[in-house]
Each structure stands twice: as C-alpha cells, then as structure tokens.
C-alpha cells in the first residue's frame, strides 16, 4: 500500500501504487503546466487532436477498435485545474490480466497505446492534419459553450472567475471561445511540442503488476523524451496570501431557470502557519455532511434548499458554499449562512459537532485507498502542492485538532464573493 515514486528523468516521474484489491489496472499520465490565458485554450485543444490517430494507429476508429479488443479498455482525457495549473490527464483502465478469457497481457499493451497517443501523434512535417484541426476546434468550442449546461457548476465557476479576476485560478480550464478561432496549425503544433518538451510529466499506475518490468518498459518507451525543469506553480498553505476584504463582492446573473444557485466564496486568511487541518474540520462542521450547520439550518430547519453544503479547496485556501434555493429566498438564505459563519467564529458548536466532523473527514481519508481513481487523485494533489503526507499521519493530524484550533481558524475566514444565478 502507498505510493512508490521513481524518477524516470528530471521532470518525469513514475508513481506505482501496488494493490490487488481491484479487478482493474488504472494508468494515468498527467502533463502539468501553469494556467495562463495565452496557452490555456491551445492546451485544451491538444487532447482533442491526439485522439484522432497515432503513427501506429492511424485513425480514431483504429484506436477505438484496438481498445475494444483489449476487453474494452477505457481511454479518456480530462482537463483539470489543480491550483494555478492546468493538468491534462490521460488515462486507460483495463481489466486485470487475471480476468481475461485467454490470459492476455493487457497492462503493457495499454501503456503502449497510451504513450502512443500522447507522444506519437499522427503528424506530417511537424503539423497536425488540417481537416482534423478544423473539426476539433469546433468540438472544443462546443465544450466551452456547454459551460452553462450544469447550472450548479456554472455558478461555482462564475464565482471563482469573479473572485480571481479571470487570472490564475480564475481562468476557465477549457479556455475561451474567442481564442479558439485564432489557433492555426503552426501555433497548435508549437504548443504541442512545447507541452511535450516542457510540462511536468507524472505517470501513475495502480493495480497488480511487476514493478521492475514496468519501470524498464516506461524508461524504454520514454528514451527519446528529454529531461526538463519543472515549471509549475506550487499552491499550498504557505503560498496563498489573502487580503482582508473591505467590501464583499456581490454579483447576480440571470438565466432562464426555476431554481436559483447561490455560491459563496470564502477566503482563509493566511496567519503564517499551517491551519489546513483546522480549516478542514471547520469546513466539515459548517457544510461537509448531513450533520453540518448548513444542511441542518438552511435545509432541515428552514426548508429552503435541497442542496446546502460547502467544500474546502486546500491549495487555494478557499471554501465554497453552494445552495439551490427558490429565487425570492436569496436574502433569507444569505442571512442564515452568515449566521452560521458567525456561530463558528463565536465557537458556538458542540463537542459532538467537532467529533462528528473529525470522524466524517477520517472516514473519507480511509476510503482513499479503497478507490483506485480517488487514490491517484490524492497523490496527484500532493505532487503538485509539494506536500507529501502518509495516510496514517493525515488521520492523526485530524484527530489532534481541538475546539480552539477550529475557533482560531474561524477568525481567519471571511466572505470574499457572493454569486447568485437567478431566473
């Protein structure tokens, strides 16, 4: 159990998570770069182009047929925002060789396909296929436009954009419509080369496999890839300095909807020491679970909402509160939420609240290793934040948090922005 790191070359790391709990092997290759307005859209387009073919598997259909033959190996690529960084996450999930019908070797085969897609795309004279570029630009536009489809996520994104003034963490991870049209073949080809040559590369493998064999397999496959200096932004408790907010930003936007979506963005002021675990407990008491103040007061007592919760973004030292409410109840909901924040400051929570919150967080930590994807995401976060912690230490740190720690953390938490999506 746990993660074993192997430096393949500078800027490129393999992370092995050996476990025989699962029927599957999961491989995830992550390319991380800084989130920048100039590059975000081009980087977001790259995975779309890469799925169109490799020098070995010339078309999308050939790739898909190959994956189907491998017992329906799942290939996908997602774009994530990790702190102030943009991460392109390519992954393949296959069933473990034990469960194949004729004892095939699927892990190496899937690594092979994945590397082929990422590092060996179909290019001619250093350029992508024009026709594919045209289609994939349209596809990216559709993804950017679909930002409005999930209203709750849209409201959260809009709150973050306003809080960060559309910079760094406030940049939309899929990029911007107006920038898509300006992309041409030479600029995207350059972006791709830049990404492959300069991004931080991490390869995660979870499952049942022979470490030495896989290590040399990776080294061999990546022998032509150059070492690089890591150029990402580290976000952790010591990096995020927040200003005291004099006036809370209040923003309202209209859409044709029946239920209003309220998002509050909170800052955790940096008191110069690690208060992450205390804030984590604070957040669980405030809005982490069904026992939380938000759930109990906004939903159960006032009956204003079906959804009422908060989440803590450790890297950015923010808490985000989300509620779906009837539109005329806006003021009422905001007041009840503010009351909960004040209660937290005044230490008006019971020892039971504290213990329940800690138990809730610890239960979550304990399931990390029981889910392949959750475990990989956990280690990715640590890698980018440069904060390495063992699961057992993480648990004991939470156990140590006292009522005073939480009250102290509460003094450092303030509302930055209130965003309301209304009908």
């Amino acid at each position: 159990m746990g993660e074993k790191q192997i430096l393949i070359k500078e800027g490129i790391k393999a992370h092995f998570i050996e476990t025989d709990l699962f029927k599957t092997n999961l491989i995830c290759v992550i390319l991380t770069t800084k989130l920048e307005r100039d590059n975000v859209t081009k980087n977001a387009l790259i995975p779309f182009l890469l799925r169109r073919g490799t020098n070995n598997l010339k078309t999308q259909t050939e790739i898909n047929k190959k994956l189907e033959e491998m017992y329906g190996a799942t290939y996908d690529c997602g774009i994530d925002k990790i702190g102030d960084n943009q991460a392109l996450k390519f992954f393949v999930e296959t069933i473990n060789d034990k469960y194949t019908l004729s004892k095939e070797n699927l892990l190496e085969e899937s690594l092979d396909v994945l590397f082929d897609i990422i590092f060996n795309p179909l290019m001619k004279d250093g350029k992508f296929n024009e026709e594919y570029l045209k289609i994939e630009k349209e596809n990216l536009k559709k993804v950017i436009e679909s930002k409005i489809d999930n209203k709750a996520v849209y409201a959260l994104n809009r709150c973050i954009e306003n809080m960060y003034d559309n910079k760094g963490f406030g940049i939309y991870k899929y990029g911007y419509l107006e920038d898509v049209d300006n992309i041409d073949n030479s600029s995207i080809s350059d972006s791709y080369k830049n990404l492959i040559n300069n991004s931080k590369i991490d390869i995660y493998i979870s499952g049942n496999f022979d470490e030495n064999k896989i290590k040399s397999f990776i080294e061999n496959k990546l022998s032509n890839i150059n070492p690089r200096k890591e150029d990402i932004i580290t976000n952790n408790f010591s990096t995020e300095s927040k200003q005291k907010v004099e006036n809370i930003k209040e923003i309202q936007e209209e859409m044709n909807i029946t239920q209003g979506k309220l998002v509050m963005g909170l800052d955790v002021l940096n008191p110069g020491k690690d208060i992450q675990d205390a804030v984590n407990v604070y957040n669980a008491i405030l809005g982490g679970s069904a026992n939380s103040f938000l759930f109990q007061n906004v939903r159960e007592k006032a009956g204003l909402a079906y959804t009422a919760r908060s989440t803590y973004n450790k890297m950015k030292s923010n808490i985000f509160i989300n509620c779906g409410i009837e539109i005329p109840n806006y003021e009422k909901a905001v007041n009840i939420i503010k009351e909960q924040l004040n209660n937290m400051k005044d230490g008006k929570f019971s020892d039971d609240d504290l213990e329940n919150a800690k138990r809730f967080i610890i239960a979550g930590i304990k399931t990390i290793e029981a889910e392949q994807d959750t475990e990989i995401v956990f280690y990715i976060g640590q890698e980018i934040a440069k904060q390495k912690i063992e699961i057992k230490d993480y648990i004991s740190n939470i156990e140590k948090i006292t009522r005073e720690d939480v009250i102290e953390a509460a003094q450092n938490i303030q509302i930055n922005t209130i965003f309301f999506l209304r009908g």
Binding site: D20, L21, F22, K23, T24, T59, Q60, T61, N64, K65, E68, E69, M70, Y71, G72, A73, T74, E93, T94, I95, K98, Y99, L101, I135, E138, N139, K142, E145, S146, K147, I148, D149, M255, N256, I257, T258, Q259, S289, A290, N291, E300, G303, L304, A305, Y306, T307, G324, I325, E326, D352, N356, R359, F360, I362, A363, T367, E369, A370, E371, Q372
Partner: protein
Amino acid sequence: MQIIENDKIKEIMYKEKLDNGMDIIIIPKKGEQKKYIIWGVNFGSVDNKFILGDSNEVTKIPDGIAHYLEHKMFEQRSGINSLDALCALGVDANAFTTNNFTAYLYECTDNFYEALDEFMDYVQNPYYTTENVEKERGIIEQEIAMYDDEPEWQLYMNTMKLLYNKHPMRIDIAGTKESIAEINENTLYTIYNNFYTPENMAIVIVGDFKPDEILQEIKKRIIKKASNVKITRVTEDEPEEICGKKMEVKMDISRPIFMVAYKVKMKKENMVKKDLALEILGNIILGKSSNLYQKLYNEGLISSEFGFDFEYARDYSHFVIEGSSEEPEKVIEEIKNEIDFYLNQGINEENFERIKKKVYGDMVKDYNDVRTIGNQTMSYYFKGINLFDFFEEFDSISKEYTEQILKEVFDENKKVISIVKNKE
C-alpha cells in the same frame, strides 16, 4: 445458506431466506476496506395503484409518495434524525427511490455494527407527524425544481410520456408540486404498513465479512411483525402501441440533446440474454468504432459518444439512445439508416466477436466497487435476476440470437423521439 459461485470473476455469493420471508444476500470481499449494506423495498414510483386485502376497492395514491416516504424515514420518535446519527458515526449514509424500488444504505470503513443498530432500527420504525411531514414539503419542492432545470431529465421524462399511454413510467419519481401537496402522515403510514413488509424487502451486504456471522447480526436486529396484509398491485393495461411520436421543448442549454427510444413488447423470456444482446448491438451500431459514429463525427454532427440503455422491469421495457448535436433531426435520420443497414445486412462476425469481448470487459469493470456491486445486485434482484447470471449467460450469446433481437426491438412503429433544443 445457498452458495452461488462464479468462476469467471472469481466471486461468491451467499443467499438466505429468513423465516419472515425476507432475502439476505451476502457478497464477501476479502481484504476490502469498505463495507456496504443496502436495504431494498419492492416499492417505487410506478406502484401507484393497489388493492388491500380482499376488498375490491382500488386505492390510488399521490404521485411521488415512494420518494416522499424515503425522505421521511430518517426521523425518529426520540427526536433523533437517523441520517445525522449515522453521519456522526462517520459512515456515508443515504437513500434513493427509483421507478421500481426504494433503497436505504450506508458505506463505511469503521463502526459498521454501531451503524447497523441505527440503520436497522430506523428502517423498521417509521415516525410521521403532521409537522415533520409538512416541513419536508419545501425541501422536496426544491428537489423537484432542481430537476426541472436539468435538460437531461426533461428529455428522459418526455421520452417516457411518448412511450407510455397509461403506465406510471410517465410520472416523475418525485411527483409534482401539486401531487405531493396531497401527502400527509396517514398516507405515508398506509404505504409503510402495506409495502414495507419482510417478504417485500431484501438486504444486500458487500465487504470483508464472514457470511454466517453477518447473517446472525442481521437476524438479531430484525423486528418480528405480524404480517398478513395481502397487496395486489394494480397495473394499467398498457397497449403495445406508443403514445406519441415526437416531443420538442426549449431550454437554456448550449446545444440540442435528443433521445430516441423503442418500446419493447413484454413476454416471457430470458431477460439477461436479451440485455446482453442489446448491449452488444448498441456498441456495434452506435459505439465509438462504429461506421455511424465515425461518419457523423467527421461531418461535425456529433462530438461525443451516444449513450444507450435497455431499461426493463416486471411490466415495461424499452431501449433508449441519447446524444447531442446541432442538427438532431439529421442525426436521428442517420441512426435510422444505420439500423436499417444492419437489419438488411446482418452483423459482421469480426465486429461481433470484438464487441463481445468489450462487453465482457465492461462487466468485469463494474465488479470493482462495493457500492456498485451492492446497488446492481439489488436492482437486478427486484427483476428476479442474479448478477452472476450475466457472466453465466455470456458465452451463450450467439450472432444469430443477437440478430433476432435486433429485428425484434428496432421497430419503426414503436419508436419515439424527444428533443430539447436551445433557445436562440
């Protein structure tokens, strides 16, 4: 205990019928840290008419009552809310209502037995008052409002309204603001007392357990109740024909979404085989390696995969296809042409074998997580199916059988089209 083994995925299942008629299914997973329990009640949103005892009177209950009842199970006479109590133990507790059943559940790493006390206590002890039932109305109204703004849900509900003339699949699981206004503590008690009976319920447990031990622990916590209520579910005579051909609505959405569905005639047959054949057919006709997908993708008409599913229970079955496109009508026409092609030409042997392998892999992947295993086992249990049956029947699915299902299911006269368009 009955022991069922599966060699392909190397899993084992224990099944026991308790004296009171309730089934307990245990799936041990050695070394697994998570434990999962789900308690299912054979009562869902489609159960809206029934006859009690030997009377001749048909009782019609308000739409959304199964879901309302699920929300109200957690409140206890002691003033404790069981969801809070379970949460305080650090377990992840929840409940949900489907068209066909209601389920109460929790997942945990620690405190399994402490949680089991609370869990089995609350499911067996309802406590409804005028006040606590009233309080929930606002919360459920907001849940309904949330779904009203979800284009995918509206797309699906419209499909059901087109497929079914009378069958309650037409009705939203949560009901409507108006229908839930009729619900009070008395209606909830009537439903509870008649449907939450042992022979109408089952428990599935997944995790690192010794089957005998966990079975004893369950038995200890079962409350003996006299249960001699006879319920007859009244099902509407649903015609074979569809109710309407096409429905289109406009919502705030970036790009149109569509659903094409085929109403499938119910008959006595092996549903596992049919389900597998349709999974294979869906992949062959619509999957990522299909001619259709590649053609539409290259023409810029679609940019993501089609979704498809064969949905069925004791008195309905249909096959749905969904997708999104700027030009939904054109894509729907192309789907029709492709299906016609396969109806005329049959299936290519090589494609069939490759896709069959993929479908097998998908099934194995589903068997990874205690929650997924528990939920699926429960869902199929109420269809009279054991999850392992899919692995058992897998080898027997032939190309010929699959082609026969193709002809049977994809009938133009039984096809409906639902579209949600974006506002200009």
